[in-house]
């Protein structure tokens, strides 16, 4: 598990003949190697690169879902992008998205996932199976089912949570909408972090921990000085993946539909509402392009941190 999600090994990335490594370890030759990767590259081109370019193109048009602008869209240059920069709705969504990512991915899933993995690291038997089973179940259930469960949990009139706490009428989704979707997404996505850290902790040499204990290191000192240095790459890779996933997550829409009064209108929801519900495809595409750029920046930030590992 750890191996498949580990960060790319820098040694492999830097493999150049000048350093004495062979650039053609498999002995395939340029042409045959190309033939092997061609199908994958073709799929990426058709389903990823082309749509991304198409979105950039659409962002330059006044394209709409219906009406005259659907039949004869006009080129409007950078108007959509300039509009986004002055659109309070867009900035509101951007700020909300960062709150959502910070709260549910960086803090919620990483901390909870690591804590679970740490507590379960030496356990065997029923407790471990049950905990892992429950956490993973939250991850693999279909979104629509999960959303329904959470609406039933948080509903202000007949919700399970209010019934358990004895506070009927407390409107979680209206009074604490951001907190609700952060908890929701933490619950939903913790399994991935837990499994990744679980595998990573297995790679920490027990002898190092043993030496640290003999030297009198406290639990926190062991974590800080032995465990974290060993799994730094895993932490960063995990952060990269779940930050990007959460940034583009549409799940909260099923809970709050972006409301009340746009308080949970994260960027993915904002694009959906703009492009598909209001039919402004051109503007929606422009915002999507900006999201793409933000994602690039986030990813480069993490990848730079990763490379400093050496």
């Amino acid at each position: 598990m750890a191996r498949t999600t580990s960060p790319p090994d820098p040694k492999v990335l830097d493999a150049t003949p000048a350093r004495g490594y062979s650039s053609d370890a498999a002995g395939l030759g340029r042409l045959r190697a190309g033939a092997f990767v061609a199908p994958a590259l073709a799929l990426i081109a058709v389903f990823l690169v082309f749509p991304a370019l198409w979105v950039i193109y659409l962002g330059l048009m006044n394209y709409r879902l219906t009406g005259i602008a659907a039949a004869e869209p006009q080129f409007v240059g950078l108007d959509n992008y300039l509009k986004a920069l002055t659109d309070p709705g867009f900035w509101n969504s951007t700020v909300l998205t960062f709150q959502f990512v910070l709260g549910s991915a960086v803090i919620g899933q990483v901390v909870l996932g690591f804590t679970l993995a740490w507590l379960m690291r030496n356990r065997r038997g029923a407790l471990k199976s049950v905990v892992e089973g429950v956490v993973i179940l939250a991850w693999i259930l279909p979104s629509a089912v999960v959303a329904f469960l959470w609406v039933a949990l948080l509903d202000r009139d007949s919700g399970t949570l209010n019934a358990m706490l004895g506070i009927p009428g407390f409107a979680w989704l209206l009074d604490h909408p951001m907190l609700s979707i952060i908890l929701f997404n933490t619950w939903r996505g913790t399994a991935f972090s837990m499994m990744l850290y679980g595998a990573a902790l297995g790679n920490v040499p027990p002898s190092h921990l043993e030496s640290a204990r003999l030297a009198g290191a406290s639990g926190w000192q062991q974590l800080r000085d032995v465990v974290f240095p060993h799994i730094r790459g895993h932490i960063l890779t995990n952060l990269l993946l779940i930050s990007l996933w959460t940034f583009n997550d549409f799940g909260p829409f099923l809970l709050t539909a972006g409301g009340p009064e746009n308080k949970t209108e994260i960027l993915a929801v904002y694009v959906y509402k703009t492009a598909l519900q209001s039919g402004d495809l051109g503007y929606g595409a422009a915002i999507s392009t900006i999201i793409l750029l933000i994602n690039l920046v986030v990813a480069i930030f993490y990848l730079r941190l990763l490379r400093r590992r050496r």
Partner: protein, 463 residues
């Protein structure tokens, strides 16, 4: 090299996040052995939204139509594609289907979408798709002028009208009795509605008045909230080619919202919830809502004891209805004492249908007198487009007789122009602001500003 590689990884990761892809289902293509496959879609689903309509198509229309075609020597199979979502989502799905040349052969749409769909080229005049028999269909003679207008855009018929409707105030007679209000309540001014609300409140009714507000309810806010009230205040959303900005009627309308939601007569929270409208239905059925402004769909499809989504077994005894009064007698549009708004659904042809002639036959078949009578029997009466059918079926239905005799003569229609849905959203946002505590005049001013952006400048707006 490292940099290139990492940017490549990032590009893949991020590109996969962007999805503006259109997905639709393909229309059936029989073709083999002379078999013709047709599909028909509505925002209706067995056991859910508009269940009666879905059952009618599946259990009556399809077998009967296939039988009739077989008698003519044609092997036609028809498939119903159900849907049970909010109207806005249904519209999005249809737009994407039609844009990509897919979708069912026969499609139900809301009349108000006709303009924007036609301008986008998603639907075409019937005669162009199905041939001249579309214009010579026998049913046209039975359909009143105003109802035909729903299906007409730029002078051409783009669809067959399925019917029309009207909006009234519903009230719970049991709650009214407790509050000391009459069972035959008919307010003649807005103040009387507010007074009734206050009495209901002091008798312990949790939600005395429900008038849709906010964006979560979509067009239901405009059609069952803003527009009937605006008409009652003597205003129209568009008048003589100018859009109405922050006019006095609009301020009065938003002012009523303020009195209801700021004065504790309504539940502002319900207007914000993602499924607020469904919940308001549920609460009415549970006897928690005193007065509710809705169309006849509410009577037929929501509290209907048999097929409603929030059925009330004692609907006929408990649910009362009254005309929507003007702000004061004689102050409504055209100097009326009472007002309403009407719309209507349409049934249209997919221009990319492979069998447009047969699809039109199917469409016409669903609106034949026999099909309409079958559809409306057993408590599913609605106002059909055909006068000949209405005469027979409305007789035993008190609410629909009330609407067709007393409400339709004083009703009004939305402007059938492509930009209307955007204006509608701006109106919904204005009500959301007021229900959330913004002053009515300020919300009206903000609406005017948005309106100017939507309709192309201040020249097209009158205040």
């Amino acid at each position: 090299m490292v940099r290139k590689r990492s940017i490549g990884v990032v590009a893949v990761l991020t590109a996969s996040a962007l999805g503006l892809a259109a997905c639709g289902q393909s229309s059936g293509d029989g073709g083999e052995g002379g078999a013709i496959e047709l599909t028909i879609t509505q925002n209706a689903i067995a056991g859910g939204k508009n269940a009666a309509a879905a059952d009618h198509i599946a259990n009556w229309v399809i077998p009967k139509f296939q039988e009739a075609q077989k008698a003519k020597g044609k092997n036609v199979t028809v498939k119903f594609i159900p849907s049970g979502v909010d109207d806005e989502q249904y519209k999005t799905k249809l737009s994407l289907d039609l844009k990509s040349g897919k979708g069912a052969d026969v499609i139900d749409i809301d009349g108000i979408w006709a303009g924007e769909f036609a301008e986008a080229g998603y639907i075409k005049p019937l005669a162009e798709v199905a041939g001249p028999e579309a214009d010579s269909w026998e049913g046209w003679q039975q359909i009143p002028e105003a109802v035909q207008g729903l299906a007409t855009f730029n002078g051409k018929k783009y669809a067959l009208p399925i019917g029309t409707d009207g909006r009234v105030l519903y009230f719970n007679k049991t709650l009214f009795e407790k509050a000391g209000l009459p069972a035959d309540w008919q307010p003649t001014s807005w103040q009387e509605i507010l007074d009734a609300g206050a009495k209901l409140k002091s008798s312990g009714v949790p939600v005395p008045i429900q008038i849709n507000a906010g964006t979560a309810m979509g067009e239901a806010t405009t059609m069952q909230g803003v527009l009937p009230l605006l008409a009652g205040a003597g205003g129209e959303v568009q008048q003589d080619d100018k859009w109405t900005g922050a006019s006095q009627p609009l301020k009065d309308t938003l002012g009523l919202y303020q009195k209801v939601y700021g004065g504790g007569l309504g539940d502002p929270r319900l207007q914000q919830e993602a499924k607020g409208r469904d919940k308001s239905f549920q609460q009415f059925a549970e006897g928690k809502v005193g007065i509710l402004l809705e169309g006849d769909y509410f009577w037929r499809g929501v509290v209907n004891p048999k097929t409603g989504v929030a059925p009330m077994a004692d609907r006929d005894q408990v649910v009362g209805y009254a005309k929507i009064p003007a702000i004061e007698p004689g102050k409504g549009i055209r100097g009326q004492d009472f007002v309403s708004m009407s719309g209507g659904a349409l049934r249209t042809l997919n221009p990319s249908s492979k069998h447009p002639k047969e699809a039109f036959e199917l469409m016409a078949f669903t609106l034949s007198p026999e099909a309409l009578k079958e559809e409306t029997k057993d408590g599913n009466v609605r106002i059909t487009p055909r006068s000949d059918v209405n005469k027979e079926i409305l007789a035993g239905e008190p609410l629909l007789t009330f609407i067709s005799e007393q409400v339709l003569p004083l009703t009004a229609y939305r402007p059938p122009v492509a930009v209307y849905p955007q204006v509608s959203v701006a109106l919904q946002e204005a009500t959301a602001a007021v229900a959330g505590g913004t002053a009515a005049d300020q919300a009206a001013a903000e609406y005017q500003k948005k309106l100017e952006g939507i309709v192309g400048g201040a020249n097209n707006v009158a205040s």
